[in-house]
Symmetry: C2
Subunit: 330 residues, 2 copies
């Protein structure tokens, strides 16, 4: 049985979507137990009945996007996120899912749960769907906006561990996000990181990758600083929806197109499902002493249930242990 703490109060649709996602997850995955942290009465009401494998830990306070993250983690001891973090810290839970403030999840991961020894900087690493139908991990996506070259080697190692342990890729291909494919291309950071990555014997480094090839599926792990990664991630999300809305204008502009669009509805649905990044869950915070999954702020029940599955899989595959032993071998 895998025990996962869930912050009921994180995300745009909390706590309704969170609780609905918990119920969905409990029904789908029989080897998990959930501890929902949040206002007890409200959660009880949303649950509607008692569940064998759902426990509630009462938490009356909330950390919002407006709180200064580190301060909030230190002071808001009665918040749902801090209570969830403490469950992981104490070992009462092995994993945690939260769709709230990214900064607070990061601060909580580092200050409450703690870094893995040897990892300088934990990283947020979402998975994106690719043309080849398998995901690519983008690491880092916003936890470390100013990076030293050394951090990028940590990211490569942690990304490799995740893709190997949790996703089951045999020798994950690691690429460095850069502005050209040639070895000598890049800014100060990537030029310094390239030779370090090339030297590493415990990753499968395939060289530079340009931003146009991110969704090609040619890499399993794409290493970058958190600023560039965040730009890439948000551009990808935003572009998909901008393109869709531009398309919609054309598709509804005349009768012929409207009929065509109607016939293509199921195909569009399949396409959207393929592009749905919540299918892979949320973004794991890698490099801390526990499984922490940061859900997308706009997560619905389905996204929460997928993020819970992702936490379960990471616990089952001993992700943290894999990162620890990778670091020790370096």
């Amino acid at each position: 049985m895998y025990t996962i703490a869930v912050d009921a109060m994180g995300g745009d649709n909390a706590p309704q979507a969170v609780v609905a996602g918990c119920i969905e997850a409990i029904n789908e995955y029989k080897d998990i137990k959930l501890i929902i942290c949040g206002p007890k009465e409200k959660i009880k009401e949303l649950l509607g009945k008692d569940y064998d494998r759902i426990e509630i830990v009462d938490a009356q306070d909330v950390i919002t996007n407006h709180d200064q993250p580190t301060m909030a983690i230190r002071r808001k001891s009665e918040s749902s996120l801090v209570k969830a973090m403490e469950l992981v810290k104490s070992g009462a839970a092995q994993g945690l899912v939260c769709a709230g403030s990214t900064g607070a999840v990061l601060a909580g991961g580092i200050f409450k749960v703690g870094r893995i020894r040897g990892i300088e900087r934990p990283a947020l690493a979402p998975l994106l769907p690719t043309v080849q139908g398998k995901p690519v991990m983008l690491i880092d996506c916003g936890a470390n906006v100013d990076c030293k070259p050394q951090y990028l080697t940590n990211f490569a190692l942690m990304g490799t561990a995740y893709m190997r342990s949790v996703i089951g890729v045999k020798e994950p291909k690691v690429a460095l996000l850069n502005i050209g494919a040639e070895d000598e291309k890049g800014n100060e950071l990537t030029k310094a990181a390239y030779p370090l990555l090339k030297e590493m014997t415990n990753i499968n480094f395939i060289g530079n990758m340009e931003a146009r090839d991110v969704l090609s599926g040619d890499a399993d792990v794409l290493v970058c600083d958190g600023f560039a990664g965040n730009v890439l991630l948000k551009n990808t999300e935003g572009l998909a929806s901008s393109l869709m809305s531009m398309m919609k204008v054309e598709f509804t502009s005349d009768f012929r197109s409207k009929i065509g669009a109607l016939l293509l509805k199921p195909a569009f649905k399949r396409f959207k499902k393929r592009m749905d990044y919540t299918e892979y869950g949320g973004a794991p915070l890698l490099g801390v002493n526990g499984v922490i999954i940061k859900g997308h702020g706009s997560s619905n029940a389905r996204a929460f249930s997928r993020a819970i599955l992702q936490a379960r899989n990471a616990i089952e595959s001993n992700l943290v242990g894999d990162i620890v032993s990778s670091i020790e071998k370096m």
Copy 2:
């Protein structure tokens, strides 16, 4: 009459597409004169006949993507690009179009044509189509991969000048590409640049913009360092084509979808035209003493003709003069 030099040997489809683009441009725009730089015999053959407003300057050498840019500009004096740059330098041409090596165009612009006094770093600034049907200028996109905050204020000024003079936007809205909308967000560079941009009285600074909103049309000029800009630009290009190919798979998977796709063909064509970034021409290299347009490497004849029109418009609107006087006013 506006005189524009064209490098016949730049781009994947050179010289065929370049010469075809020149003919198209001459036929469409009656107030331009073109000086094509390249191997005389070959160009004559491609032209097929004499044109009143096309001149050829013989150049037997070529600068390729494999040449070290600065070295090539210094040593390859017989190359088509260097000859074209010299025409701008001498005033024989007021503008230049080249779809060849970005590094060489940049080096040529700086060392042959020369920087505008007061501009620390010229920048490459492509235009992207937005949801609102008007373009947004992304500045810088690869000329300066490591930036000081001061550079970004230069970019803001030059982008404003371009959008005002050439595109005719009254008070171009300038945003800073960042990882959050709040003032205090960002990496070291954007945190330092933000207050500098806010202080500027000759631009209309609207604050931070996240990468998800780039194509929203809410900003006319998006300022960023060349690494992030390049990531954004290439991701946008690559994503549009990745999404299309993923869609195609779904659209051809069954009979119903195939019929729907057939009916939607004209709508898709309109959509593609709307998304076609070559409609706006190439990326101007701003901050040098002449109009220099860097065409996309994969430019076809139409893209060359649009880039020539763009150079014409920049000359007509006195872009360089506008940048000079903006800098002087600072």
